[in-house]
Amino acid sequence: MEALIALAIGTLTGCGVYLLLRARTFAVVLGLTLLSYGVNLFLFATGRLVIGQPPVVSGAASYADPLPQALVLTAIVISFAMTAFVIMLSLRAREEFGNDHVDGTPQQSDAP
Protein backbone atom coordinates (compact mmCIF):
# COMPACT_ATOMS: atom_id res chain seq x y z
CA MET A 1 0.00 0.00 0.00
CA GLU A 2 2.80 2.39 0.94
CA ALA A 3 4.31 2.13 -2.52
CA LEU A 4 0.99 3.07 -4.10
CA ILE A 5 0.60 6.11 -1.88
CA ALA A 6 4.17 7.20 -2.54
CA LEU A 7 3.49 6.81 -6.24
CA ALA A 8 0.33 8.88 -5.92
CA ILE A 9 2.16 11.61 -4.05
CA GLY A 10 4.85 11.61 -6.70
CA THR A 11 2.36 11.84 -9.53
CA LEU A 12 0.40 14.63 -7.92
CA THR A 13 3.55 16.61 -7.21
CA GLY A 14 5.02 16.05 -10.64
CA CYS A 15 1.85 16.98 -12.50
CA GLY A 16 1.36 19.92 -10.18
CA VAL A 17 4.84 21.17 -11.00
CA TYR A 18 4.28 20.73 -14.71
CA LEU A 19 1.05 22.69 -14.66
CA LEU A 20 2.61 25.27 -12.41
CA LEU A 21 5.12 25.94 -15.16
CA ARG A 22 2.46 26.65 -17.77
CA ALA A 23 1.96 30.14 -19.10
CA ARG A 24 -1.74 30.61 -18.31
CA THR A 25 -3.23 31.44 -14.97
CA PHE A 26 -5.85 28.70 -15.01
CA ALA A 27 -3.27 26.00 -15.61
CA VAL A 28 -1.21 27.45 -12.79
CA VAL A 29 -4.20 27.34 -10.49
CA LEU A 30 -4.86 23.71 -11.40
CA GLY A 31 -1.21 23.01 -10.78
CA LEU A 32 -1.39 24.57 -7.36
CA THR A 33 -4.47 22.52 -6.57
CA LEU A 34 -2.76 19.28 -7.55
CA LEU A 35 0.35 20.31 -5.64
CA SER A 36 -1.67 20.93 -2.53
CA TYR A 37 -3.30 17.50 -2.85
CA GLY A 38 0.15 16.04 -3.15
CA VAL A 39 1.63 17.86 -0.22
CA ASN A 40 -1.42 17.19 1.94
CA LEU A 41 -1.11 13.48 1.25
CA PHE A 42 2.60 13.71 2.02
CA LEU A 43 2.01 15.48 5.28
CA PHE A 44 -0.65 12.89 6.07
CA ALA A 45 1.83 10.15 5.22
CA THR A 46 4.24 11.40 7.87
CA GLY A 47 1.78 9.81 10.31
CA ARG A 48 2.40 6.59 8.40
CA LEU A 49 -0.46 4.50 6.96
CA VAL A 50 -2.76 2.89 9.48
CA ILE A 51 -6.03 1.17 8.63
CA GLY A 52 -9.05 1.12 10.88
CA GLN A 53 -7.63 3.02 13.84
CA PRO A 54 -9.09 6.50 13.64
CA PRO A 55 -7.75 8.72 16.43
CA VAL A 56 -11.06 8.83 18.26
CA VAL A 57 -10.53 7.60 21.78
CA SER A 58 -12.67 4.51 22.24
CA GLY A 59 -10.60 2.18 24.36
CA ALA A 60 -8.89 0.65 21.35
CA ALA A 61 -5.34 -0.62 21.60
CA SER A 62 -3.68 1.77 19.20
CA TYR A 63 -4.58 4.76 17.09
CA ALA A 64 -3.31 6.55 14.04
CA ASP A 65 -1.03 9.51 14.74
CA PRO A 66 -3.48 12.39 15.14
CA LEU A 67 -0.96 15.20 14.81
CA PRO A 68 -0.30 14.96 11.06
CA GLN A 69 -4.05 14.77 10.54
CA ALA A 70 -4.50 18.02 12.43
CA LEU A 71 -1.68 19.59 10.44
CA VAL A 72 -3.18 18.45 7.18
CA LEU A 73 -6.52 19.89 8.19
CA THR A 74 -4.90 23.23 8.78
CA ALA A 75 -2.97 22.90 5.55
CA ILE A 76 -6.14 22.11 3.60
CA VAL A 77 -7.87 25.19 4.93
CA ILE A 78 -4.92 27.43 4.23
CA SER A 79 -4.35 26.12 0.74
CA PHE A 80 -8.06 26.58 0.07
CA ALA A 81 -7.81 30.20 1.10
CA MET A 82 -4.71 30.69 -1.00
CA THR A 83 -6.24 29.03 -4.03
CA ALA A 84 -9.28 31.22 -3.72
CA PHE A 85 -7.08 34.27 -3.59
CA VAL A 86 -4.97 33.35 -6.56
CA ILE A 87 -8.10 32.61 -8.56
CA MET A 88 -9.42 36.07 -7.87
CA LEU A 89 -6.05 37.49 -8.71
CA SER A 90 -6.12 35.70 -12.03
CA LEU A 91 -9.42 37.39 -12.77
CA ARG A 92 -8.00 40.75 -11.79
CA ALA A 93 -5.05 40.07 -14.05
CA ARG A 94 -7.44 39.09 -16.82
CA GLU A 95 -9.09 42.47 -16.49
CA GLU A 96 -5.82 44.39 -16.34
CA PHE A 97 -4.03 42.61 -19.17
CA GLY A 98 -6.95 41.63 -21.37
CA ASN A 99 -5.53 38.11 -21.46
CA ASP A 100 -4.84 35.34 -18.97
CA HIS A 101 -1.10 35.01 -19.50
CA VAL A 102 0.84 34.99 -16.27
CA ASP A 103 3.08 37.80 -17.52
CA GLY A 104 0.26 39.63 -19.23
CA THR A 105 2.12 39.42 -22.53
CA PRO A 106 1.45 36.28 -24.55
CA GLN A 107 4.14 36.82 -27.21
CA GLN A 108 7.12 36.63 -24.86
CA SER A 109 5.56 33.61 -23.20
CA ASP A 110 8.48 31.27 -23.77
CA ALA A 111 12.16 31.91 -23.78
CA PRO A 112 13.57 28.57 -22.63
Partner: protein, 511 residues
Protein backbone atom coordinates in the same frame (compact mmCIF):
# COMPACT_ATOMS: atom_id res chain seq x y z
CA UNK B 1 -0.29 41.20 32.33
CA UNK B 2 3.47 40.82 32.52
CA UNK B 3 2.97 37.08 32.61
CA UNK B 4 1.36 37.33 29.18
CA UNK B 5 3.93 39.76 27.79
CA UNK B 6 5.20 37.53 24.98
CA UNK B 7 1.78 37.25 23.37
CA UNK B 8 0.82 40.90 23.69
CA UNK B 9 2.67 42.06 20.57
CA UNK B 10 0.78 39.37 18.67
CA UNK B 11 -2.67 40.01 20.06
CA UNK B 12 -2.60 43.80 19.83
CA UNK B 13 -2.56 44.01 16.04
CA UNK B 14 -5.05 41.14 15.85
CA UNK B 15 -7.42 43.00 18.11
CA UNK B 16 -6.99 46.21 16.17
CA UNK B 17 -7.50 44.39 12.90
CA UNK B 18 -10.69 42.68 14.01
CA UNK B 19 -12.03 45.90 15.49
CA UNK B 20 -11.32 47.75 12.26
CA UNK B 21 -13.12 44.98 10.46
CA UNK B 22 -16.04 44.92 12.86
CA UNK B 23 -16.55 48.66 12.58
CA UNK B 24 -16.14 48.59 8.84
CA UNK B 25 -18.03 51.84 8.40
CA UNK B 26 -15.55 53.93 10.39
CA UNK B 27 -14.39 57.04 8.59
CA UNK B 28 -10.88 56.91 7.19
CA UNK B 29 -9.45 59.32 9.77
CA UNK B 30 -10.97 57.29 12.56
CA UNK B 31 -9.43 54.15 11.13
CA UNK B 32 -6.07 55.90 10.94
CA UNK B 33 -6.23 56.94 14.57
CA UNK B 34 -7.21 53.46 15.67
CA UNK B 35 -4.42 51.92 13.63
CA UNK B 36 -1.95 54.47 14.93
CA UNK B 37 -2.97 53.82 18.52
CA UNK B 38 -2.55 50.11 17.97
CA UNK B 39 0.92 50.52 16.46
CA UNK B 40 2.00 52.79 19.30
CA UNK B 41 0.75 50.24 21.79
CA UNK B 42 2.70 47.58 19.93
CA UNK B 43 5.85 49.67 20.13
CA UNK B 44 5.27 49.94 23.85
CA UNK B 45 4.82 46.20 24.14
CA UNK B 46 7.89 45.57 22.02
CA UNK B 47 9.98 47.85 24.21
CA UNK B 48 8.66 46.15 27.32
CA UNK B 49 9.53 42.79 25.80
CA UNK B 50 13.01 43.97 24.86
CA UNK B 51 13.70 45.23 28.36
CA UNK B 52 12.34 42.00 29.80
CA UNK B 53 14.71 39.83 27.79
CA UNK B 54 17.68 42.17 27.63
CA UNK B 55 18.94 40.61 30.85
CA UNK B 56 19.50 37.40 28.96
CA UNK B 57 16.61 35.34 30.26
CA UNK B 58 14.25 33.77 27.73
CA UNK B 59 10.51 34.15 28.19
CA UNK B 60 8.47 31.10 27.29
CA UNK B 61 4.70 31.31 26.89
CA UNK B 62 2.84 28.00 26.80
CA UNK B 63 -0.31 28.47 24.77
CA UNK B 64 -3.26 26.55 26.11
CA UNK B 65 -1.10 25.79 29.15
CA UNK B 66 0.19 22.64 27.47
CA UNK B 67 3.77 21.66 28.10
CA UNK B 68 6.29 21.84 25.30
CA UNK B 69 6.98 20.09 23.02
CA UNK B 70 3.34 19.02 22.68
CA UNK B 71 1.68 22.37 22.92
CA UNK B 72 2.67 25.46 20.99
CA UNK B 73 5.03 27.80 22.80
CA UNK B 74 5.95 31.38 22.16
CA UNK B 75 9.59 32.06 22.87
CA UNK B 76 10.86 35.57 23.39
CA UNK B 77 14.61 35.79 23.42
CA UNK B 78 16.79 38.75 22.49
CA UNK B 79 16.54 38.01 18.80
CA UNK B 80 12.75 37.83 18.75
CA UNK B 81 12.38 41.01 20.76
CA UNK B 82 14.87 42.78 18.51
CA UNK B 83 12.93 41.77 15.40
CA UNK B 84 9.57 42.70 16.89
CA UNK B 85 10.80 46.12 17.92
CA UNK B 86 12.25 46.76 14.49
CA UNK B 87 8.97 45.74 12.90
CA UNK B 88 6.80 47.95 15.04
CA UNK B 89 9.05 50.98 14.66
CA UNK B 90 9.03 50.52 10.92
CA UNK B 91 5.27 50.04 10.89
CA UNK B 92 4.69 53.34 12.66
CA UNK B 93 6.22 55.45 9.91
CA UNK B 94 4.85 53.35 7.09
CA UNK B 95 1.41 53.81 8.61
CA UNK B 96 1.83 57.54 8.99
CA UNK B 97 2.92 57.82 5.38
CA UNK B 98 -0.02 55.72 4.26
CA UNK B 99 -2.22 58.41 5.77
CA UNK B 100 -1.52 60.61 2.76
CA UNK B 101 -4.41 58.94 0.98
CA UNK B 102 -2.90 55.67 -0.17
CA UNK B 103 -4.96 53.86 2.44
CA UNK B 104 -8.11 55.21 0.85
CA UNK B 105 -7.35 53.94 -2.63
CA UNK B 106 -8.74 50.49 -1.89
CA UNK B 107 -10.66 48.54 0.69
CA UNK B 108 -9.50 47.26 4.06
CA UNK B 109 -6.02 48.76 3.95
CA UNK B 110 -5.78 49.18 7.69
CA UNK B 111 -7.26 45.79 8.50
CA UNK B 112 -4.75 44.09 6.26
CA UNK B 113 -1.96 46.27 7.63
CA UNK B 114 -2.72 45.28 11.21
CA UNK B 115 -3.11 41.61 10.39
CA UNK B 116 0.18 41.74 8.54
CA UNK B 117 1.76 42.95 11.76
CA UNK B 118 -0.04 40.14 13.54
CA UNK B 119 1.61 37.66 11.23
CA UNK B 120 5.03 39.26 11.53
CA UNK B 121 4.96 39.33 15.33
CA UNK B 122 3.79 35.73 15.44
CA UNK B 123 6.48 34.58 13.05
CA UNK B 124 9.17 36.21 15.17
CA UNK B 125 7.87 34.91 18.47
CA UNK B 126 6.67 31.41 17.82
CA UNK B 127 8.78 28.47 18.94
CA UNK B 128 7.03 25.87 16.82
CA UNK B 129 7.86 24.94 13.26
CA UNK B 130 4.34 24.41 11.99
CA UNK B 131 3.07 27.43 13.84
CA UNK B 132 5.82 29.32 12.03
CA UNK B 133 4.32 28.06 8.79
CA UNK B 134 0.90 29.28 9.83
CA UNK B 135 2.21 32.73 10.65
CA UNK B 136 4.16 32.81 7.41
CA UNK B 137 0.88 32.21 5.65
CA UNK B 138 -0.81 34.95 7.64
CA UNK B 139 1.78 37.54 6.82
CA UNK B 140 1.87 36.38 3.23
CA UNK B 141 -1.86 36.46 2.61
CA UNK B 142 -2.00 39.87 4.24
CA UNK B 143 0.93 41.01 2.16
CA UNK B 144 -0.84 39.79 -0.97
CA UNK B 145 -3.76 41.99 -0.15
CA UNK B 146 -1.51 44.93 0.62
CA UNK B 147 0.75 44.42 -2.37
CA UNK B 148 -2.23 44.61 -4.70
CA UNK B 149 -3.80 47.48 -2.82
CA UNK B 150 -4.73 50.13 -5.35
CA UNK B 151 -4.47 48.00 -8.44
CA UNK B 152 -2.89 48.91 -11.76
CA UNK B 153 -1.26 46.76 -14.41
CA UNK B 154 2.33 46.68 -13.22
CA UNK B 155 1.19 46.14 -9.66
CA UNK B 156 -1.10 43.30 -10.65
CA UNK B 157 1.59 41.56 -12.68
CA UNK B 158 4.15 41.87 -9.91
CA UNK B 159 1.52 40.82 -7.38
CA UNK B 160 0.55 37.76 -9.36
CA UNK B 161 4.17 36.65 -9.62
CA UNK B 162 4.73 37.35 -5.96
CA UNK B 163 1.66 35.37 -4.93
CA UNK B 164 2.30 32.36 -7.12
CA UNK B 165 5.94 32.19 -6.12
CA UNK B 166 5.07 32.25 -2.47
CA UNK B 167 2.30 29.69 -2.87
CA UNK B 168 4.82 27.35 -4.41
CA UNK B 169 7.13 28.24 -1.56
CA UNK B 170 4.48 27.37 0.99
CA UNK B 171 4.12 23.96 -0.61
CA UNK B 172 7.83 23.41 -0.21
CA UNK B 173 7.56 24.54 3.39
CA UNK B 174 4.91 21.89 4.04
CA UNK B 175 7.11 19.23 2.50
CA UNK B 176 9.96 20.37 4.69
CA UNK B 177 7.87 20.46 7.85
CA UNK B 178 6.51 16.99 7.09
CA UNK B 179 9.99 15.62 6.53
CA UNK B 180 11.27 17.11 9.74
CA UNK B 181 8.35 15.72 11.72
CA UNK B 182 8.80 12.35 10.08
CA UNK B 183 12.49 12.30 10.85
CA UNK B 184 12.65 13.92 14.27
CA UNK B 185 9.13 13.29 15.55
CA UNK B 186 8.54 16.78 16.82
CA UNK B 187 7.64 20.28 15.71
CA UNK B 188 8.84 22.29 18.66
CA UNK B 189 12.05 24.04 17.64
CA UNK B 190 13.79 23.45 20.95
CA UNK B 191 12.74 19.81 20.97
CA UNK B 192 13.93 19.46 17.39
CA UNK B 193 17.28 20.91 18.33
CA UNK B 194 17.48 18.39 21.13
CA UNK B 195 16.42 15.45 18.98
CA UNK B 196 18.75 16.48 16.16
CA UNK B 197 21.69 15.68 18.40
CA UNK B 198 20.53 12.09 18.83
CA UNK B 199 19.31 11.38 15.33
CA UNK B 200 19.45 7.81 14.10
CA UNK B 201 21.40 7.52 10.85
CA UNK B 202 18.53 5.87 8.98
CA UNK B 203 16.51 9.08 9.33
CA UNK B 204 19.41 11.42 8.71
CA UNK B 205 18.61 11.71 5.04
CA UNK B 206 15.04 12.78 5.70
CA UNK B 207 16.12 15.33 8.26
CA UNK B 208 18.79 16.77 5.97
CA UNK B 209 16.39 16.99 3.06
CA UNK B 210 13.83 18.65 5.29
CA UNK B 211 16.34 21.11 6.64
CA UNK B 212 17.64 22.09 3.23
CA UNK B 213 14.12 22.47 1.87
CA UNK B 214 13.52 24.81 4.78
CA UNK B 215 16.54 26.75 3.59
CA UNK B 216 14.99 26.94 0.13
CA UNK B 217 11.76 28.33 1.55
CA UNK B 218 13.46 30.86 3.76
CA UNK B 219 15.76 31.83 0.93
CA UNK B 220 12.71 32.55 -1.19
CA UNK B 221 11.26 34.74 1.54
CA UNK B 222 14.58 36.47 2.02
CA UNK B 223 15.03 36.82 -1.75
CA UNK B 224 18.36 35.06 -1.84
CA UNK B 225 19.86 34.26 -5.21
CA UNK B 226 18.55 32.57 -7.33
CA UNK B 227 15.13 33.13 -5.76
CA UNK B 228 15.41 36.92 -5.75
CA UNK B 229 13.78 37.84 -9.04
CA UNK B 230 10.34 38.45 -7.59
CA UNK B 231 11.46 41.18 -5.25
CA UNK B 232 12.43 44.23 -7.31
CA UNK B 233 9.25 44.14 -9.35
CA UNK B 234 7.02 43.42 -6.38
CA UNK B 235 8.51 46.13 -4.18
CA UNK B 236 8.80 48.81 -6.81
CA UNK B 237 5.37 47.86 -8.12
CA UNK B 238 3.37 48.21 -4.95
CA UNK B 239 2.36 51.36 -3.13
CA UNK B 240 5.05 53.15 -1.15
CA UNK B 241 3.90 52.53 2.42
CA UNK B 242 3.41 48.87 1.64
CA UNK B 243 6.85 48.63 0.08
CA UNK B 244 8.20 50.33 3.18
CA UNK B 245 6.49 47.78 5.40
CA UNK B 246 7.74 44.99 3.15
CA UNK B 247 11.26 46.06 4.01
CA UNK B 248 10.82 43.76 7.02
CA UNK B 249 9.40 40.88 4.97
CA UNK B 250 12.75 39.81 3.60
CA UNK B 251 14.08 40.06 7.12
CA UNK B 252 11.56 37.42 8.14
CA UNK B 253 13.36 35.05 5.83
CA UNK B 254 16.68 36.16 7.22
CA UNK B 255 15.36 35.67 10.73
CA UNK B 256 14.14 32.17 9.94
CA UNK B 257 17.46 31.25 8.36
CA UNK B 258 19.33 32.68 11.31
CA UNK B 259 17.11 30.89 13.81
CA UNK B 260 17.35 27.49 12.19
CA UNK B 261 21.02 28.01 11.36
CA UNK B 262 21.87 28.60 15.01
CA UNK B 263 19.23 26.58 16.87
CA UNK B 264 18.42 23.56 14.71
CA UNK B 265 21.67 23.17 12.80
CA UNK B 266 24.11 24.73 15.23
CA UNK B 267 27.22 23.15 16.63
CA UNK B 268 25.23 20.92 18.96
CA UNK B 269 23.12 19.36 16.22
CA UNK B 270 25.28 16.29 15.81
CA UNK B 271 25.04 14.94 12.29
CA UNK B 272 22.90 17.89 11.25
CA UNK B 273 25.35 20.52 12.42
CA UNK B 274 26.28 23.25 9.93
CA UNK B 275 23.75 22.01 7.41
CA UNK B 276 23.47 25.43 5.76
CA UNK B 277 27.15 26.29 5.74
CA UNK B 278 28.08 25.07 2.27
CA UNK B 279 25.24 27.07 0.71
CA UNK B 280 24.77 30.22 2.69
CA UNK B 281 27.92 32.24 2.11
CA UNK B 282 28.36 31.66 -1.63
CA UNK B 283 24.71 32.40 -2.34
CA UNK B 284 24.77 35.49 -0.17
CA UNK B 285 27.85 36.89 -1.89
CA UNK B 286 26.44 36.08 -5.30
CA UNK B 287 23.25 37.86 -4.30
CA UNK B 288 25.22 40.96 -3.38
CA UNK B 289 27.00 41.03 -6.72
CA UNK B 290 23.95 40.42 -8.87
CA UNK B 291 21.87 42.87 -6.88
CA UNK B 292 24.53 45.56 -7.14
CA UNK B 293 24.59 45.16 -10.87
CA UNK B 294 20.82 45.45 -10.83
CA UNK B 295 21.07 48.64 -8.83
CA UNK B 296 23.58 49.97 -11.32
CA UNK B 297 21.24 49.17 -14.17
CA UNK B 298 18.08 50.43 -12.49
CA UNK B 299 16.16 53.06 -14.41
CA UNK B 300 13.94 54.29 -11.61
CA UNK B 301 14.32 55.08 -7.94
CA UNK B 302 11.83 52.34 -7.11
CA UNK B 303 13.80 49.59 -8.81
CA UNK B 304 17.04 50.99 -7.47
CA UNK B 305 15.64 50.75 -3.97
CA UNK B 306 14.39 47.24 -4.67
CA UNK B 307 17.83 46.08 -5.72
CA UNK B 308 19.41 47.81 -2.75
CA UNK B 309 17.11 45.77 -0.53
CA UNK B 310 18.58 42.70 -2.20
CA UNK B 311 22.08 43.99 -1.54
CA UNK B 312 21.26 44.40 2.12
CA UNK B 313 19.81 40.90 2.26
CA UNK B 314 22.97 39.49 0.77
CA UNK B 315 25.09 41.49 3.17
CA UNK B 316 23.03 40.31 6.13
CA UNK B 317 23.21 36.68 5.17
CA UNK B 318 26.90 36.77 4.47
CA UNK B 319 27.29 38.28 7.92
CA UNK B 320 25.19 35.45 9.35
CA UNK B 321 27.39 32.98 7.54
CA UNK B 322 30.68 34.19 9.01
CA UNK B 323 29.98 33.16 12.59
CA UNK B 324 29.04 34.70 15.90
CA UNK B 325 30.80 38.03 15.41
CA UNK B 326 29.29 38.24 11.99
CA UNK B 327 25.84 37.57 13.41
CA UNK B 328 26.37 40.32 15.94
CA UNK B 329 27.35 42.72 13.19
CA UNK B 330 24.46 41.53 11.07
CA UNK B 331 21.98 42.05 13.85
CA UNK B 332 23.16 45.62 14.16
CA UNK B 333 22.96 46.04 10.40
CA UNK B 334 19.47 44.50 10.18
CA UNK B 335 17.37 47.35 11.57
CA UNK B 336 19.50 49.83 9.69
CA UNK B 337 18.93 48.13 6.37
CA UNK B 338 15.23 47.80 7.14
CA UNK B 339 14.74 51.46 7.96
CA UNK B 340 16.91 52.53 5.04
CA UNK B 341 14.97 50.45 2.56
CA UNK B 342 11.72 51.88 3.87
CA UNK B 343 13.17 55.36 3.70
CA UNK B 344 14.21 54.87 0.10
CA UNK B 345 10.80 53.60 -0.95
CA UNK B 346 8.99 56.44 0.75
CA UNK B 347 11.36 58.99 -0.76
CA UNK B 348 11.06 57.45 -4.20
CA UNK B 349 7.29 57.75 -3.94
CA UNK B 350 7.36 61.29 -2.57
CA UNK B 351 9.63 62.34 -5.42
CA UNK B 352 7.54 60.45 -7.94
CA UNK B 353 4.44 62.31 -6.87
CA UNK B 354 6.26 65.60 -7.18
CA UNK B 355 7.60 64.92 -10.67
CA UNK B 356 4.42 64.15 -12.55
CA UNK B 357 6.21 64.35 -15.87
CA UNK B 358 8.92 61.82 -15.21
CA UNK B 359 7.91 60.09 -11.99
CA UNK B 360 10.76 58.36 -10.21
CA UNK B 361 12.57 57.56 -13.43
CA UNK B 362 16.19 58.60 -13.53
CA UNK B 363 15.69 61.30 -16.12
CA UNK B 364 16.01 65.06 -15.73
CA UNK B 365 12.86 67.06 -15.11
CA UNK B 366 11.86 70.44 -13.87
CA UNK B 367 12.79 71.19 -10.27
CA UNK B 368 10.07 70.12 -7.89
CA UNK B 369 8.72 72.31 -5.12
CA UNK B 370 11.24 72.55 -2.26
CA UNK B 371 13.81 70.95 -4.48
CA UNK B 372 16.73 71.52 -2.12
CA UNK B 373 14.88 69.92 0.80
CA UNK B 374 14.09 66.76 -1.08
CA UNK B 375 17.57 66.76 -2.49
CA UNK B 376 19.01 66.90 0.99
CA UNK B 377 16.76 64.11 2.20
CA UNK B 378 17.72 61.96 -0.75
CA UNK B 379 21.37 62.72 -0.11
CA UNK B 380 21.01 61.54 3.47
CA UNK B 381 19.11 58.43 2.42
CA UNK B 382 21.71 57.67 -0.22
CA UNK B 383 24.49 58.03 2.33
CA UNK B 384 22.65 55.60 4.57
CA UNK B 385 21.96 53.18 1.74
CA UNK B 386 25.47 53.21 0.32
CA UNK B 387 26.85 52.50 3.76
CA UNK B 388 28.87 55.69 3.78
CA UNK B 389 29.89 57.50 6.93
CA UNK B 390 28.68 58.77 9.22
CA UNK B 391 25.38 56.89 9.26
CA UNK B 392 24.73 53.46 10.70
CA UNK B 393 25.19 51.74 7.36
CA UNK B 394 28.89 52.43 7.52
CA UNK B 395 29.11 51.16 11.06
CA UNK B 396 27.30 47.99 10.05
CA UNK B 397 29.66 47.40 7.14
CA UNK B 398 32.65 48.12 9.33
CA UNK B 399 31.45 45.64 11.93
CA UNK B 400 30.80 42.98 9.31
CA UNK B 401 34.20 43.40 7.70
CA UNK B 402 35.77 43.36 11.11
CA UNK B 403 34.01 40.08 11.86
CA UNK B 404 35.37 38.43 8.72
CA UNK B 405 39.12 39.04 8.87
CA UNK B 406 40.09 35.75 7.29
CA UNK B 407 37.68 35.95 4.37
CA UNK B 408 39.07 38.05 1.53
CA UNK B 409 36.07 37.13 -0.61
CA UNK B 410 33.61 38.63 1.82
CA UNK B 411 35.75 41.74 1.97
CA UNK B 412 36.15 42.05 -1.75
CA UNK B 413 32.46 41.60 -2.47
CA UNK B 414 31.19 43.88 0.26
CA UNK B 415 33.63 46.66 -0.54
CA UNK B 416 33.06 46.39 -4.26
CA UNK B 417 29.30 46.38 -3.71
CA UNK B 418 29.60 49.48 -1.58
CA UNK B 419 31.49 51.28 -4.34
CA UNK B 420 29.02 50.28 -7.06
CA UNK B 421 26.05 51.19 -4.90
CA UNK B 422 27.70 54.55 -4.29
CA UNK B 423 28.10 55.10 -8.02
CA UNK B 424 24.53 54.04 -8.71
CA UNK B 425 23.15 56.39 -6.08
CA UNK B 426 25.38 59.25 -7.20
CA UNK B 427 24.13 58.77 -10.73
CA UNK B 428 20.53 58.66 -9.58
CA UNK B 429 20.94 61.72 -7.41
CA UNK B 430 22.63 63.80 -10.08
CA UNK B 431 20.04 62.75 -12.66
CA UNK B 432 17.05 63.58 -10.48
CA UNK B 433 18.29 66.52 -8.47
CA UNK B 434 21.27 68.15 -10.20
CA UNK B 435 20.37 67.75 -13.81
CA UNK B 436 17.21 69.82 -13.92
CA UNK B 437 15.27 71.11 -16.88
CA UNK B 438 13.44 74.42 -17.03
CA UNK B 439 9.74 73.86 -16.29
CA UNK B 440 8.05 73.77 -19.68
CA UNK B 441 4.39 74.01 -20.56
CA UNK B 442 4.49 70.40 -21.69
CA UNK B 443 5.74 69.22 -18.35
CA UNK B 444 3.14 71.30 -16.58
CA UNK B 445 0.45 69.83 -18.78
CA UNK B 446 1.69 66.33 -18.02
CA UNK B 447 1.70 67.30 -14.39
CA UNK B 448 -1.92 68.30 -14.34
CA UNK B 449 -2.87 65.22 -16.33
CA UNK B 450 -1.19 62.54 -14.27
CA UNK B 451 -1.58 64.34 -10.99
CA UNK B 452 -5.25 63.48 -11.17
CA UNK B 453 -4.59 59.81 -10.62
CA UNK B 454 -1.93 60.03 -7.96
CA UNK B 455 -2.22 61.56 -4.54
CA UNK B 456 -1.79 65.29 -4.91
CA UNK B 457 1.51 66.55 -3.53
CA UNK B 458 1.58 69.52 -1.24
CA UNK B 459 -1.60 68.41 0.40
CA UNK B 460 0.34 65.78 2.30
CA UNK B 461 3.83 67.25 2.30
CA UNK B 462 3.91 67.63 6.05
CA UNK B 463 2.85 64.02 6.52
CA UNK B 464 5.40 62.77 4.01
CA UNK B 465 8.14 64.74 5.71
CA UNK B 466 7.04 63.44 9.09
CA UNK B 467 7.26 59.82 8.01
CA UNK B 468 10.53 60.27 6.14
CA UNK B 469 12.00 62.33 8.93
CA UNK B 470 10.94 59.68 11.40
CA UNK B 471 12.81 56.98 9.54
CA UNK B 472 15.84 59.21 9.22
CA UNK B 473 15.58 59.82 12.95
CA UNK B 474 15.63 56.09 13.58
CA UNK B 475 18.72 55.71 11.45
CA UNK B 476 20.34 58.63 13.24
CA UNK B 477 19.48 57.14 16.62
CA UNK B 478 20.94 53.84 15.49
CA UNK B 479 24.10 55.75 14.66
CA UNK B 480 24.36 57.80 17.84
CA UNK B 481 23.52 54.91 20.12
CA UNK B 482 25.50 52.44 18.10
CA UNK B 483 27.33 51.47 21.27
CA UNK B 484 24.38 50.06 23.22
CA UNK B 485 22.77 48.78 20.05
CA UNK B 486 25.84 46.80 19.13
CA UNK B 487 26.19 45.65 22.72
CA UNK B 488 22.69 44.23 22.50
CA UNK B 489 23.35 42.70 19.10
CA UNK B 490 26.50 41.11 20.42
CA UNK B 491 24.71 39.74 23.45
CA UNK B 492 22.07 38.37 21.11
CA UNK B 493 24.66 36.68 18.96
CA UNK B 494 26.22 35.11 22.03
CA UNK B 495 22.78 33.92 23.13
CA UNK B 496 22.24 32.36 19.74
CA UNK B 497 25.60 30.67 19.95
CA UNK B 498 24.40 28.93 23.11
CA UNK B 499 21.20 27.11 22.07
CA UNK B 500 21.24 25.21 25.35
CA UNK B 501 19.68 28.17 27.15
CA UNK B 502 16.85 28.29 24.64
CA UNK B 503 16.27 24.56 24.82
CA UNK B 504 16.27 24.46 28.61
CA UNK B 505 14.00 27.47 28.81
CA UNK B 506 11.46 25.80 26.56
CA UNK B 507 11.68 22.21 27.67
CA UNK B 508 12.32 22.87 31.30
CA UNK B 509 15.34 21.31 33.00
CA UNK B 510 15.72 18.52 30.48
CA UNK B 511 19.37 17.57 29.82
Amino acid sequence: MMAHLPIVPILLPFLAGTLLLAFGRLSLPAQRWLALASVLAQIGAAIALLTAVSGGDILVYRLGDWPAPWGIVLVADRLSAWMVLTTTLLALWALIYAGNGVDGQGRHFHVLFQLQLFGLAGAFLTGDLFNLFVFFEILLIASYGLALHGGGQARTRAGLHYVVMNLAGSTVFLFAAGLIYAALGSLNLADLALKAATLTPDKLGLARAGGLLLLAVFALKAALLPLHLWLPAAYSGTSAPVAALFAIMTKVGVYAILRSHTLLFGDGAGALAHLFDPWLLPLALATILVATLGALAADSLGRLSGYLVLVSVGTLLSAVAVGTDGIAAGLYYLPHSTFTAALLFLLADAIKRRRPGSGDHLIPDADMPRHALWGGLFFAAAVAAAGLPPLSGFIGKFLILRAAPGQPWVWAVILLAALLALMALARAGSQVFFNSLPATGAAAAKASKSASGVVTPGASTARDLLAIGGLLGLILALTLFAGPAFEFAHATARQLAEPAHYINAVLGAKP
